[in-house]
Symmetry: C2
Subunit: 321 residues, 2 copies
């Protein structure tokens, strides 16, 4: 059985534990806080409900062991995933402790959303063993993971990381340039900042913005990204034509992105009130269950859609003959 160590609980670490476990790995979990145990048990229970629905075949479930020391967790691990709090001194101390106890052959992935790999590698015993493997919540369902090595990480290590993450059902995106916050969170921050302005200025509510996503471009992006969507919309005139048309829009004073909104008490209160109204009494557990059921339904639906598209294309071609 392949062995993974999960260092640092919370929702992200627990999500990693559940993903490895349900894909047949032995998982050794370490977090000094007793509260983390409760989180990992809850997340594993939830993931156990949903993950098998997505796959026709899953390997037999692995085993979850709770380690009493960090050294015990990482000693035999092939993959070590670090998900401790997002402060560099804590990351450095944890990585140092991991490296004194783990195999030089292991890969150490960090769940960091903000730090670059070269920052994590500073003063490390074996910097070439550390890379960013940044997942998105819920880790047990969303396939995406950003892999960011730095120049000191060997290509062989990157390929091993990609293969291993693919084996546990993920879609690794390897980024060859280091920038703070990688790629996904930059796109999210762009939307977030503009959304804050729209609420602050009283143009839209949280529910209206969410509805625009769930009934509009969220549906687009669940199955074709930004660029493929525009390529498709551009039609036979092609991507170049589309882009040339789009150029002038960038000079229009549409967004307020040039300025950073002040997330003051008034704006926080407004968002909280609107979000409460939108939830209409649903608890976070209910929202989570809705989310997970939806994600499973979407992942299953997308797996089986291509046959339909192919049949329609054949029919169109036959009509043209």
């Amino acid at each position: 059985m392949q062995k993974a160590a999960i260092v640092g609980g919370g929702v992200i670490g627990a999500g990693w534990a559940a993903r490895f476990l349900l894909h047949g790995w032995q998982v050794r979990f370490y977090d000094p806080s007793p509260a983390a145990l409760e989180v990992v048990n809850r997340v594993v229970e939830t993931a156990t409900r949903w993950v098998p629905e997505i796959y026709d075949h899953l390997p037999p479930r692995g085993e979850l062991l709770i380690a009493s020391t960090l050294a015990e967790a990482v000693a035999e691990a092939e993959w070590i995933q670090e998900s401790v709090p997002e402060r560099l001194p804590i990351k450095h101390a944890t990585l140092a402790e991991i490296q004194t106890a783990c195999s030089a052959e292991a890969v150490i992935g960090s769940s960091t959303s903000g730090f670059m790999p070269s920052e994590l590698q500073q003063d490390a015993l074996r910097p070439e063993q550390i890379l960013v493997a940044h997942p998105y919540n819920p880790v047990y369902l969303l396939p995406i993971v950003e892999v960011v090595p730095s120049a000191v990480v060997l290509e062989e290590t990157v390929q091993r990381a990609e293969a291993l993450l693919s084996d546990i059902g993920m879609k690794p995106i390897t980024l060859r340039a280091e920038i703070p916050a990688h790629v996904g969170d930059r796109l999210l921050e762009a939307v977030w900042r503009e959304a804050l302005w729209l609420i602050k200025d009283g143009v839209a509510t949280t529910e209206q913005i969410d509805d625009l996503m769930t009934h509009g471009f969220g549906l687009r992006w669940a199955q074709k990204g930004l660029f493929e969507t525009y390529r498709t919309a551009g039609g036979e005139a092609g991507m170049k034509h589309f882009l040339e048309q789009f150029g002038p829009c960038l000079q229009w004073p549409w967004t307020k992105l040039m300025d950073v909104p002040d997330l003051d008490d008034e704006l926080i209160s407004r968002i909280v009130e609107q979000s409460d109204a939108q939830a209409a009494g649903r608890s976070v557990s209910e929202l989570e269950a809705e989310r997970d059921a939806n994600l499973v339904a979407l992942l299953k639906a997308l797996r089986s859609e291509n046959a339909a598209a192919g049949a329609f294309l054949n029919q169109l071609a036959a009509n043209d003959d």
Copy 2:
């Protein structure tokens, strides 16, 4: 049979025509260009393939009539949808011609993405009859439509517009403030601008950005928007706690939103090359068919997911007892 007039073809006008038609309306279509006829026929054929899959019950299909004059198209229409090119003098001339021939009881919706309703209403015969009804491509499948009245539009008219758009399977979002580009396109522009920087700076390719969406936050936003996603992720600590944690991030130099990227020839060429590689030989027709099959699969899946979430919550509650 209820009657709609579609003024201005192209992909958007044709999408409106297909949506009304498949929801049982008589559609009178007018566009001075003969090429528009080909587009509307193709889009109606495509929509006819996909739209019935989403619904258990659709009314009997309406009829599509090609009007030879604008006056003939709009004379008896209850809803008139204007989708002419995005230039204000063309919009004004078209709206003036529409208003000389249509009933004062009709609602005139404009598909404009950039103009505010009060701009469209300038010097109009009956400004109170004109509002923005901005859809998203493909109009026959994506439910979202932004409804933007201005202060001169009666509340009764807004409610009639909302009811009528809901009847043809749409999700109207009524915005009470007028801003250029409404809400959805502002969020899209935010993502677009940041994505251009990431490509210009060589951090990610079009395919990587698209993969991040289709395997990551696109899946999130197809079923829970930005705010509900964060509310859920924030857990029991609540939305306020989540927002207070997020505050400092806005000061970090993550995105390059403060600056507008120059969409010059070099950047256009780079995007075109990457997009070509990503398409891997698939034609726009193939991409469209993939998109539509996917959207249908997603819409069907989301319609039937809530039972699963409810059952799991009941099970959790039973375990807790």
